[in-house]
């Protein structure tokens, strides 16, 4: 493998891949267990939002992990539902209801480990062009050799600024400080412009 960039200790960053080995925390293990089911079924997905910062070391926890899933037909979704045998959908226990009343209607459903409530995976089908772009341009992460797909960091940072809570801005700053030497800055700037957050970026991250 051609290694274009080496960032902080023991982390490899290329255009297609980030490879990292670290001591896993319980949230990492939860995400790996859930996404391994998606990987086995060859289902396209992207982990977005707060967990991306935690994955790379941000010192905070989270009760939910946001995930965009490719739009599945009901048959494929039923296969996924059965494969998630170690998890419960905490929104509804009925697969048809989950699919028709929530996912197809544009709402998210949540999965937690059996007999628990948090942490949970909040899962939704793509709703916007931006969601579709995220899925089509996902970034592979090998976390202790386990495969997870995340959104591009160049979008993750502007989108966190767009969300705009103090926690979101801190997450954005953390990712920017970690990766700023390796990012595709024209792409980042374009997302800053499209999301109308150039002022926030200049104020807090630069």
């Amino acid at each position: 493998m051609l290694v274009n960039h080496v960032l902080f200790v023991e982390l490899v960053f290329t255009k297609e891949l980030i490879e990292i080995n670290k001591e896993l925390n319980s949230l990492d293990e939860f995400v790996i267990e859930f996404t391994s089911v998606l990987n086995k079924l060859n289902i396209n997905y992207v982990v977005i939002s707060g967990y991306v910062s935690i994955l790379f070391g941000r010192s905070r926890s989270s009760e939910d992990i946001d995930l965009i899933l490719e739009k599945l037909d009901f048959e494929k979704f039923s296969i996924l539902w059965k494969a998630l045998a170690d998890f419960d959908c905490i929104i509804t226990s009925d697969v048809k209801n989950a699919y028709n009343e929530y996912l197809i209607d544009g709402q998210a459903i949540r999965f937690a480990k059996k007999d628990t409530f948090i942490p949970n995976i909040e899962l939704k089908f793509p709703k916007t062009d931006l969601d579709s772009w995220v899925l089509a341009n996902k970034k592979e992460v090998l976390l202790n050799k386990k495969q997870i797909y995340i959104s591009q960091i160049e979008l993750q940072i502007p989108f966190k600024l767009f969300l705009g809570s103090e926690k979101d801005i801190e997450d954005a700053k953390y990712l920017y400080d970690l990766f700023k030497d390796k990012l595709d800055l024209p792409l980042l700037n374009e997302f800053n412009r499209k999301l109308n957050i150039i002022g926030l970026f200049d104020k807090y991250l630069r």
Partner: protein, 50 residues
């Protein structure tokens, strides 16, 4: 009971200053992560998250 005067402008300024202090800490922490071994920082992170 007499309630205190509230200067929202002043409070917002303090909130903004606090936030900037926290951002400065986030920058320090990111630099610490970049300069520490993965074993070191992930071990510390595990203590907080677990």
């Amino acid at each position: 009971m007499k309630l205190p005067e509230i200067d929202l402008k002043e409070l917002n300024k303090l909130k903004e200053e606090n936030f900037k202090e926290r951002l400065a800490f986030v920058e320090k922490y990111a630099n610490w992560v970049k300069n520490s071994s993965n074993k070191k920082w992930s071990s510390e992170q595990k203590k907080i998250i677990n």
